[in-house]
Amino acid sequence: MKENFFQVRDLTKVYRMGEVEVHALRGVNMELYAGELVVLLGPSGSGKSTLLNIMGGLDTATAGIVAYRGKELTQATEKELTEYRRFHVGFVFQFYNLISSLTARENVAVVTEIAANPMSPEKALDLVGLTDRLNHFPAQLSGGEQQRVAIARAISKNPTVLLCDEPTGALDSKTGILVLQALERINRELGTATAIITHNVDIAGMADRVIHLSNGKIAEVSKNKVKKSASELQW
């Protein structure tokens, strides 16, 4: 039995906007095991990002529990959350959020400089296939390349978990596949537990497990009998 990294119990998130309450999550229960690749699938507005953000220590829950390796994130202080993000979790977002004043290598170094057990920026960029783009600034890179730098940056600290929110959302399918290949390789070679959010059903094929979200609840959890490789995907 693999270790369970995340224990999510009855997670509820309510956004209050004046009079209106938006129930983004209505009692979500889920797990994320070591080494597995999970796709969170659901239509826009179903609460995927909210769930991921809470798991990543970026947002707070209204009720319920999120525990990372037995430690409750829902109870953690700001300082503990920062440390958690710093040492344990890597993020990839739809918008790459690179630092435009730094080159690809330096963008990765931003993380390796503060991490406890990092790999070298060169190695991280090699893993995403960008060895020849080390000294390029974001403005000199294509969208897909920028996203791969973002992935290199996220994994360079050797995180236990990698959380990706619509990593291909802003990319065309060909470039998107390159990005997914990079994620797949990292999951395979480093054994990093990976959660990928998407509203794209086709991507679900590359997952070990697919968690379907709908209207703030988990509608269904399915296991892929045959796990497709990213290169076989198309949409």
Partner: protein, 787 residues
């Protein structure tokens, strides 16, 4: 249009912090502009009104003695409108309970009651009764300094006779708006006063029956003052005339004019600085706003607003941003102006200080601020107006960066990524970075220039009283006295050391230029009273020839080696040729120095002295002083320490006021620049900073990136500020230089330190505010949107 207005208000409300910071700078600019200009106008108006209402004379002259019959002849000089002959005299004043040297200038009032010229404004009481010889009216500052009330008594030693006088009135005169002794650095209200007595009384005391020794006259409009003065000098020469002079050389008038000159200089410097800084800040803010509103602009245009309407919309925004600052600046300027007026009234006495604010000044203040604000933002406004809608819809191209020069020097590999971010951001916007540095530097310079005031006074006091005067008491005789008097003084118990001096009023001429001053003859080999150069080194007095204050050299246009014509205005009135042998850089006055013997040779009156410098034993000082007051031939006694104390007493208040204003100005600039830069950086980079937070950077670490840049800018600004400050002080010192005084360009380390501290404090304060904002970055929100 309504909807657009709503948009304006909302946006301005959203950036209220920045609007506030800019308003502070605009306010400072408008306030200083109004302060200096309105005070200058008020002073000018108040002065002319006082002069007009109280008939201030145009020409003044003192002489030894002339019979009353001469009056008609003077009246017949073409151009003379009104004329008053007077008796005036110096007197030692003896005030019970105040055992320090006090001198008074006694001026006669015609027996028929009111003078024709230089009429008195009676603040309290009445004029002296012409049939009583013991009544006196005194000037207001003197009365206040001693707390005199009507009916109080004081004694005056007039012509060697001790006389008790009763105060019947307290008055002001256009002739003595500022009461100050010639040669003093500051007024001394306690130790110098004006006493008005009836002509009859003073004539009797001075043996001036049927005679006068002082003439004031007014001229018809359009008359050439110089012609009348020449005529007058010719006429009065035989009667010991000391040379007539016009208003511009009249002490009180002259000092008032200097003050106005100072205000004018200030009004040229400070408002300009502020308006430029404000324009720069607006430029930064507006280009940022317009950048973030590209899409909105496009949409407005798509809806059919034309370029002009869009330009007007943002111009309105600019005006609204500065509006509050302009209004507050006007209010603050008026408030500070009135405060300054009140402060002036402690020195310059008018019946009332009439605060005048000409509408043109207001219009100028408003239009200058608005126009410079628009000029500062012109570029961005233009860009906003001209953007084709389609282009505006497209997201802005990603910022381009380069590896910076600093990194290329070889330290690159050692930089942490945050340090690299700082360096590259600064280098990517070199102009903005540079202007931010200049802005903060200017605030630092403002502080330096305010501290400079005190430093230079300290230095002048040191130069004038500490290093060059080893004597602690100086006495001067009523008239030139035999050198023997010095031996007597030396024998007096309590007097350690004594040296003689001779001072002779003269007119110095070189070519077509001339200047009236005194030559001070000091003992060769003298140890007490030294003529110093700028390094406080004593300049030896040559056997013969004259040494001039360098500024006097400039006035006359002479060089060392030239030969001056010296016309003595006392005694035998000799005219002599004297070579200039040296120049001494001095800060006060403009005069000549000679070897005592040489001066006496020039005067051809044997070994005469005008007074003596004394070193006394402190236990005897009081007694010595009393005996000098009672000694008929002693005209005046100076006690060095009293002089020094007075300078600081007099200056303390105004120094505090100016330091206070400078501090406000400096803080508002520093705060305005730092806070705005920080807010702009925050708005430009909140996304980047949020990303770093997501990557596990702490609040402190991202604050370092944002504030580190500001810290570097601030630290870089300080040395530049010192430099600009020094330059500013040099400009001010140069602009204020006159024959009365030259401000030495001395800035103490302490002044620099305080200036740096004020700037750092303002920077830290604004940094702290931004840091608090940074702590509340919404990570999730930022990541959701694309830039």
């Amino acid at each position: 249009m309504k909807a657009l207005h709503l948009k304006l208000w909302r946006e301005i409300w959203r950036m209220k912090g920045q609007v506030f910071a800019i308003s502070m700078v605009v306010m400072s600019g408008v306030a200083t502009f109004i302060l200096f200009i309105s005070t200058m106008h008020s002073l000018d108006y108040t002065r002319s009104k006082f002069y007009r209402d109280y008939n201030f004379a145009d020409v003044f002259v003192n002489l030894k003695r002339a019979p009353d019959s001469l009056k008609d002849k003077i009246q017949n000089i073409p151009g003379v409108r009104q004329l008053e002959t007077r008796v005036s005299a110096q007197a030692k004043i003896d005030i019970q309970g105040f055992s320090e040297n006090v001198t008074g200038k006694i001026v006669s009032i015609p027996d028929d009651g009111h003078p024709l010229l230089n009429r008195l404004y009676i603040r309290q009481g009445r004029l002296p009764d012409p049939f009583k010889d013991n009544e006196v009216v005194i000037n207001e500052t003197f009365a206040q300094a001693h707390g005199f009330k009507l009916g109080d008594q004081l004694a005056a030693v007039i012509n060697g006779k001790w006389k008790r006088l009763t105060i019947t009135g307290i008055a002001l005169s256009p002739e003595f708006v500022l009461v100050m002794k010639i040669g003093a650095m500051t007024p001394d209200f306690k130790r110098f006063g004006i006493l008005w007595m009836s002509r009859k009384a003073i004539s009797k005391a001075y043996d001036m029956d049927g005679a006068f020794n002082d003439v004031v006259l007014s001229l018809y409009a359009g008359v050439k003052e110089g012609d009348v003065i020449r005529e007058l000098d010719n006429m009065l020469g035989p009667y010991g005339g000391f040379g007539a002079y016009g208003r511009k050389n009249q002490m009180s008038h002259r000092l008032l004019s200097e003050e106005m000159k100072q205000l004018r200089t200030s009004s040229r410097i400070y408002p300009v600085i502020f308006i430029c800084v404000a324009a720069f800040l607006l430029n930064v803010v507006m280009s940022r706003i317009i950048n973030t509103q590209r899409e909105q602009i496009a949409i407005l245009k798509a809806f059919g607003y034309n370029d002009f309407a869009v330009g007007v919309h943002y111009a309105q925004m600019v005006i609204m941003i500065i509006a509050a600052g302009v209004v507050a600046g006007i209010a603050a300027g008026i408030w500070l102006g009135k405060m300054m007026g009140n402060m002036y009234m402690e020195f310059y006495r008018f019946p009332v200080f009439i605060y005048t604010l000409h509408p043109e000044v207001l219009i100028a203040a408003v239009s200058v601020s608005v126009l410079s604000a628009l000029a500062g933002t012109m570029h961005s406004l233009w860009k906003a107006a001209r953007q084709p809608p389609a282009e505006a819809m497209r997201p802005e191209a990603p910022a381009k960066y380069r590896v910076t020069l600093i990194e290329k020097t070889g330290i690159g590999p050692w930089l942490t990524q945050p340090a690299r971010i700082i360096a590259r951001n600064m280098e990517r916007k070199p102009i903005r970075t540079f202007l931010s540095i200049v802005g903060i530097a200017v605030s630092c310079a403002t502080m330096v220039s305010s501290g400079f005031f005190k430093d230079s006074v300290d230095f002048m006091v040191k130069a004038q009283y500490v290093f060059s005067q080893k004597e602690d008491m100086t006495i001067s005789f009523i008239e030139p006295t035999s050198y023997r008097a010095l031996y007597e003084l030396k024998q007096t118990p309590g007097i350690h050391d004594a040296e003689a001096f001779r001072s002779v009023p003269v007119k110095l001429k070189f070519g077509h230029r001339s200047y009236k001053t005194v030559i001070n003859g000091i003992e060769p080999e003298g140890r007490l009273h030294l003529v110093l150069d700028t390094n406080f080194q004593s300049i030896p007095l040559p056997e013969s020839g004259i040494l001039l204050t360098d500024y006097l050299g400039k006035i006359l246009g002479v060089q060392v080696g030239d030969v001056l014509t010296v016309e003595t205005l006392e005694g035998a009135k000799a005219i002599r040729q004297v070579p200039v042998v040296a120049m001494a850089k001095q800060y006060l006055g403009a005069m000549g120095y000679m070897n005592l013997n040489a001066l006496n040779r020039l005067m051809q009156e044997g070994n005469a002295i005008s007074g003596a410098y004394l070193v006394t034993d402190s236990p005897y000082r009081e007694k010595l002083f009393r005996s000098f007051v009672e000694m008929p031939r002693v005209a005046d006694v100076f006690i060095r320490q009293n002089e020094i104390n007075n300078i600081y007493e007099v200056m303390a208040k105004s120094m505090l006021y100016f330091t206070f204003i400078a501090m406000l100005m400096a803080c508002s600039i520093a705060f305005g620049v730092v806070y705005n830069s920080a807010r702009i950086s925050l708005s430009e980079r909140s996304r980047e900073l949020s990303s770093l937070r997501v990557l596990g950077y702490t609040r402190g670490e991202i604050a370092y990136i944002l504030l580190g840049e500001l810290a570097i800018i601030t630290l870089a600004a300080i040395p530049l500020g010192f430099f600009i400050g020094y330059w500013l002080c040099a400009y001010v010192a140069n602009a204020l230089a006159s024959d009365l005084f030259r401000v030495p360009l001395i800035i103490e380390l302490k002044t620099y330190t305080i200036a740096a501290a004020v700037v750092i404090f303002s920077a830290v304060f604004s940094g702290w505010i931004v840091r608090r904002k940074l702590d509340h970055l919404d990570l999730v929100e930022v990541l959701k949107t694309k830039e």
